[in-house]
Amino acid sequence: MLATISSATVLGVEGRPVTVEVHVSSGLPAFTIVGLPDTACREARDRVRAALLSTGLPWPTRRITVNLAPSGVRKVGSGLDLAIAVALLVAQEEVEPAAAAGVGFLGELGLDGALRAVPAMVSLVEALDGAVAVVPAAAAAEARLVAGHEVRPVTHLREVASALMGEEGWPTPPTPPPAPPPPPEPDLADVRGQPVARLALEVAAAGHHHLLMVGPPGSGKTMLARRLPGLLPPLCREHALEATRIHSAAGLPLRADTLLWRPPLRAPHHGASPVSIIGGGTAVMRPGEVSLAHRGVLFLDEMGEFAPQVLDTLRQPLEEGEVRVTRAKATATYPARFLLAGAMNPCPCGEGSVPGACSCSDAARARYRRRLSGPLLDRFDLRVEVLRPEVDDLLRGEPGESSTRVAERVAAARERARHRGVWANAELGAAALDECAPLSDGAALVVEQALRSGRLSARGLQRVRRVALTLADLWGCDGALGSDQVSLALSLRADPVGLSRG
């Protein structure tokens, strides 16, 4: 007696379809699971048995072999429990094979037969073969985010069994109350003064240029960075699905009724380990902060306090937009295309940007700056100094321009980038850059001076041109890049406190 039921497992953040085959034959009573199950998956044996027995369903005292196909893919976690239980019912001829055809089953079973949610529900449902997905009611909202499947939420194995046996229909759970609206994102209007930092934020958002802010404590670096996601345009459906999938795989709470439409902000503490940043883990692979910030902002506050090897793990995702995590048992690729915003003090005491105020020794200052390796520093298209706001600005200043106004300009600039065939200007290749952003005569002169004086390297030149193009987009200028755009781009890539001199 053979039964085949479809289900799914997850590898990294990608779902993979799994066919659960159950064979019940004569022989000594035994229950074996083959097909590369991990520990949690192998323990399905005991959960499924207890769940069937306590639900009053028959358990075959014969030789049971469960095969999870394809056998080359590692099966992770407890999400296959329900599929194994249903396959056992079919193999015992309690359920007609036709009743379970075209239906995918997902969920963990409790010993009493209750159904529990598992992480990565979005990816799992996407991977399911068949048009109907039977899922734990607790994860039904997440499962419904995926288009193209009819979702059947259930709370107990008994409901599944009686629906499949045709005794009762599928349960119709009460529709959950609509989720409360998300808390408003912090507004740029709260920031007084800071014209340079505001411009840098706007350029970073418009062109997806990575941004480093250097300044003394209390100058508002953190406040500024937290306003960066609010300037970014909402995600398109494809990107929203990517971000939702990652958050679902990490088991983070999602808004019940909708995809992650707003770019996420992740701000890991500077004590973070390399694994927590790039992802991985020994038993269960989990996406790291760089992936949770996919299509959003990764904000590293106190960047000088991060361990240097943690910062250097950022280089691959910054370059390739994804991380490949390789462990003895599996390799996973996580998307990681984020906007990096860094903030740091100019030196350990924090006062290095005020002449004469710094109390650090030269050696301490040099050590602090060496934390940021040259290649990493080079990835920042925008490097600005943030000073404490003027007293007048704080007390009597007008509220700054609101996030909504800036976001409109950012959206318009992104639209222009889209006409060039890229998502944002930071993605433009060298050839495309030559074609759509030639230098005007004046701009060429500015660039030549910078190159001759050694302030600009050949690679830096490309980055400056991209930033200048973003500025032109924000100002609505067409044609060759002007000298004013290039000079401003150069000054936004300044080296305010001699970071690269180490």
């Binding site: 004569s26 022989g27 000594l28 009573p29 005292t61």
Partner: protein, 114 residues
């Protein structure tokens, strides 16, 4: 072991032997002993030799009888069978291991159980 339990086991073994003779087997040995232990039942049909482990229970409160045949027990029976074959008066072409599960007078034989 109490008298009662020994009787239960003997009754089960007798029931199993009856089942095999009913199905055209010839009983070769019952309770064959050597230093390593005991084989419950050895039967043959043509040149197929069957070693049968008989498990008897009066109720299934602790699971069905066949579940009590653990891996250690299966390995012991294999060793015993090898010892038996060394002394056997004939050559078997095929050897099979069965488990007879006797529950409350009902007998169920799992052929080629391991």
């Amino acid at each position: 072991m109490s008298r009662q339990r020994l009787d239960l086991g003997a009754a089960g073994e007798a029931a199993a032997a009856r089942w095999y003779t009913d199905h055209g087997y010839e009983v070769v040995a019952t309770n064959w002993r050597c230093r390593q232990g005991e084989l419950d039942l050895v039967v043959r049909k043509g040149r197929v030799l069957v070693f049968c482990e008989v498990k008897t229970r009066s109720s299934d409160a602790f699971g069905v009888p066949a579940e009590a045949v653990t891996r250690e027990k299966r390995e012991r029976i294999r060793r015993l069978a090898a010892a038996y074959l060394e002394d056997a008066p004939f050559r078997a072409r095929e050897v099979r291991f069965d488990v007879a599960s006797v529950l409350d007078g009902q007998i169920e034989v799992i052929e080629a159980a391991f």
